[in-house]
């Protein structure tokens, strides 16, 4: 398959880009941050996404979606990054369909997601940084499972209708075996949720499971056998975050290039200074290379290639680094005004940092590549 978007994908990019530029903006990010205690996204925007069909990209047509793949979902995410659109898209419209699609929960949840009637959150992290270890326990009993433990950094967990929870049904510590995935209703009893606002104005929840009882039918897939689906979900999540980071990098780059052309000092546009030109050109190269890595990872996900994990790690590391470079150069090249909340470049910096951390940062993925390559 050529490493290119096809004509339909180019159309999707144009449609999504135009729609998102019209219906979301950095101003929304400030409004969400300054507006008290909201859900971390704008419900009307979420419903617009649904009407536009964008929530169904990865959902089968039989469940009301478009039945497309990860390249397509990535196109939408990239445009979200570029426009700093805030929503639970990644967990609800990407992770949830990926996992629930082939499960007995598909019928119940996917049509709702496509319609914008359900927000899904992914409860995986238990440490201060992304780590592939699960300690939260799910004990099986006659009535179902009892969940005990804590999850953190559950994005949109405080308003989720459904939590996808990674739990340990047997084994200890960093065992690969003994993991299971559960579909837990957001309003479950004994589930203590503490929302925390993040630097990018999004909201993540700490969730304490204090012997939360759920039914047997909450199990997704097979008990103790979730390592495969979990690795897949983490790859999907990392590639999705990489796509969004790519968009953040592009957005920051575009703002900065416009500023370089417009802002004059010493009687010339500052974009005519060679030192800045070379840095801008280097940034361009980093973004282009990252773009290739991201597309490669998305195609690998769609093809279920054996190289998927490495391709995803490359994509996440490259896109994170490209976005961080774009926002650092962006703020510096904006000079004083780049430090003000009135300009948008700082919002890109905050979003880049957040996305770079999710599903493992560049250092984590470089290490993972080294491990997978045996050194």
């Amino acid at each position: 398959m050529p490493l290119l978007l096809d004509d339909e994908q180019i159309m999707l990019r144009e449609m999504a880009g135009g729609f998102l530029a019209d219906h979301s903006s950095p101003a929304d990010v400030r409004a969400l941050r300054d507006g008290g205690d909201p859900p971390g996204f704008t419900p009307p925007f979420w419903r617009q996404l649904a009407r536009q069909g964008l929530l169904g990209v990865l959902i089968a047509e039989t469940h009301g979606g478009l039945g497309l793949g990860h390249v397509d979902a990535g196109i939408v995410l990239e445009q979200m990054g570029r426009n700093l659109s805030m929503s639970p898209y990644l967990s609800s419209a990407v992770l949830a369909p990926e996992l629930l699609g082939p499960s007995r929960h598909a019928e119940q949840w996917l049509p709702k997601i496509a319609r914008g009637d359900a927000v899904v959150a992914f409860a995986f992290e238990e440490f201060s940084k992304h780590r592939r270890e699960i300690g939260l326990r799910a004990e099986r009993s006659a009535d179902g499972y009892r969940l005990s433990g804590c999850k953190r950094c559950v994005l949109h967990g405080h308003v989720a209708d459904l939590l996808i929870v990674a739990a340990r049904t047997s084994g200890t510590a960093s065992d690969h075996d003994g993991l299971s995935l559960f579909a837990v209703p957001g309003g479950a009893l004994s589930l203590i949720c503490t929302p925390v606002r993040l630097v990018d104005s999004g909201i993540a929840a700490d969730i304490a499971f204090e012997r939360v009882m759920i039914g047997h039918d909450s199990l997704i897939g097979e008990e103790d056998q979730a390592i495969g689906p979990i690795v897949r979900l983490l790859n999907v999540g990392a590639a999705a975050a990489a796509a969004e980071l790519l968009g953040v990098a592009e957005g920051a780059q575009a703002l900065t290039l416009a500023f370089l052309k417009e802002r004059r000092q010493f009687d010339v546009p500052i974009g005519s200074f060679q030192a800045l030109q070379h840095r801008a050109a280097h940034l361009y190269a980093e973004i282009e290379v990252a773009r290739s890595a991201v597309l490669k990872a998305q195609q690998a996900l769609d093809d279920r290639s054996p190289e998927t994990s490495i391709a995803v790690s490359v994509a996440k590391a490259m896109a994170g680094n490209a976005a961080m470079l774009a926002v650092k150069e962006g703020v510096q090249m904006h000079g004083g005004v780049g430090m003000t909340d009135a300009y948008d470049i700082g919002l890109y910096m905050k979003r880049a940092r957040t996305l770079a951390e999710l599903f493992g940062d560049a250092a984590f993925h470089a290490d993972l590549i080294a491990k997978r390559r045996g050194y």
């Binding site: 201060s128 510096q332 000079g335 910096m349 905050k350 951390e357």
Partner: protein
């Protein structure tokens, strides 16, 4: 001579031991712990006020200034000893002030005797808090293109225009300000004046930064009257004063690279947050390498700061060396905070939770991004190094 210095050290140590309150030996954790002085100074604790007053009484808030202007009148060797003894007991600076770090040196060099006698003692005692009126919205790095005007009105000037990035202008008592007194020459049409921020016609508006803090203001002048006796240096030669002052400012900003204000080293923070593996290494091997490489540079820059200070004391520093220090120190500090964010992980993303102390870590990270902009951007420093130290040809 060495004997005298030893004696000075003993006396200083004993005096500090007796006079520095225990509370003033704790690390500075936030803005409230810094003493800025000024008319509206509200001490955060009685100890803070006591420490300021005791040090000011000896002139030790500014130990190297002449005693005639309220300073400590110490020799360079004595100043080093005082600093070392203060560092030994981890004593806080009794007073932080743009009067000390910026205006003072310029007044000592360019001011009239009357100006020195009027302003310097108040700076030493922390009575007047100064702010800086340099940047303007359309000037940026091209500082000399400023357009705030001071028109001649007999015995005074009438000042009109707008400044930006005036640090704490909303809390300052006086301003030192660059104004245009001749429109026909870019650099030779600028003058350096001082005036009271309580003068009629001045308004200030804080600027909200990406860190969520507002340490800077926009400041507007609408027919502000400034006595001509407040002109520092010659009319239209304020650019010389400005450059002199900027060089001093750079010296103080470069210290930001030291991480001395951090209670814990980056690696200690990371170890606490991420933990060690079985081999006793930080659990994240690539991040560990990045931190170690950063710490190499940090320790080297600590030595650089020491050498630079000794070179300045010995009169052997290149006059443009502050540009190098400012460039390296601020870029290093930015890199350090990037890694502090990485080490902090999800916790470092929390913006306003109580447990994150309202986002101290991410806000500090964002704050550092200004280091390489304020006081002359990194790009300006590199230009200066290229031309003044490396003697590379102009374009």
């Amino acid at each position: 001579m060495t004997g005298e210095l030893d004696l000075f050290r003993d006396e200083t140590r004993a005096w500090l031991e007796e006079n520095c309150p225990a509370e003033m030996r704790q690390p500075v954790l936030d803005e409230g712990d810094i003493c800025w002085g000024g008319r509206n100074f509200a001490p955060s604790s009685p100890a803070q006020k006591q420490w300021l007053d005791r040090m000011a009484a000896r002139g030790w808030t500014v130990p190297h200034w002449p005693a005639a202007y309220g300073g400590g009148g110490l020799s360079p060797e004595q100043v080093i000893i005082l600093r070392e003894e203060m560092a030994r007991i981890k004593a806080r600076d009794p007073l932080k002030s743009f009067g000390i770090s910026m205006l003072g040196p310029a007044l000592l060099h360019f001011g009239t005797e009357a100006q020195k006698l009027e302003h310097l003692p108040k700076i030493v005692r922390g009575e007047i808090r100064w702010c800086q009126g340099y940047s303007e919205p359309n000037a940026g790095s091209d500082l000399a293109s400023l357009t705030t005007t001071a028109d001649d009105a007999g015995d005074h000037f009438i000042v009109n225009g707008q400044k930006i990035w005036t640090s704490y202008a909303d809390q300052a008592d006086w301003i030192f300000c660059l104004v245009r007194t001749d429109r026909s020459s870019k650099h030779r049409g600028i003058s350096f004046v001082l005036f009271d921020m309580a003068s009629p016609g001045i308004t200030t508006r804080p600027i909200m930064l990406i860190s969520g803090y507002s340490p800077f203001c926009e400041t507007f002048f609408d027919n502000v009257s400034v006595p001509k006796s407040n002109l520092v240096g010659e009319l239209n030669r304020g650019w010389d004063v400005a450059k002199y002052l900027l060089t001093h400012e750079r010296g103080s900003i470069s210290n930001m690279g030291l991480g001395k204000d951090q209670v814990k080293s980056l690696s200690a923070q990371a170890t606490e947050q991420i933990g060690l593996d079985d081999a006793g290494r930080l659990r994240e091997p690539v991040l560990r390498a990045e931190i170690a490489l950063l710490e190499v540079r940090e320790l080297a820059f600590l030595a650089m700061t020491e050498r630079n200070r000794d070179e300045v004391t010995a009169g052997r520093a290149h006059p443009a060396q502050p540009s190098m220090m400012k460039y390296y120190g601020t870029e290093l500090n930015k890199a350090r905070h990037e890694l502090a964010m990485s080490a902090g992980g999800f916790a470092a993303l929390e913006w306003d939770s109580d447990r994150s102390q309202q986002g101290l870590v991410p806000r500090a990270w964002l704050r550092t991004k200004a280091n390489s902009i304020e006081g002359g951007t990194s790009e300006i420093q590199l230009n200066i190094i290229a031309k003044r130290i490396l003697d590379l040809p102009s374009a």
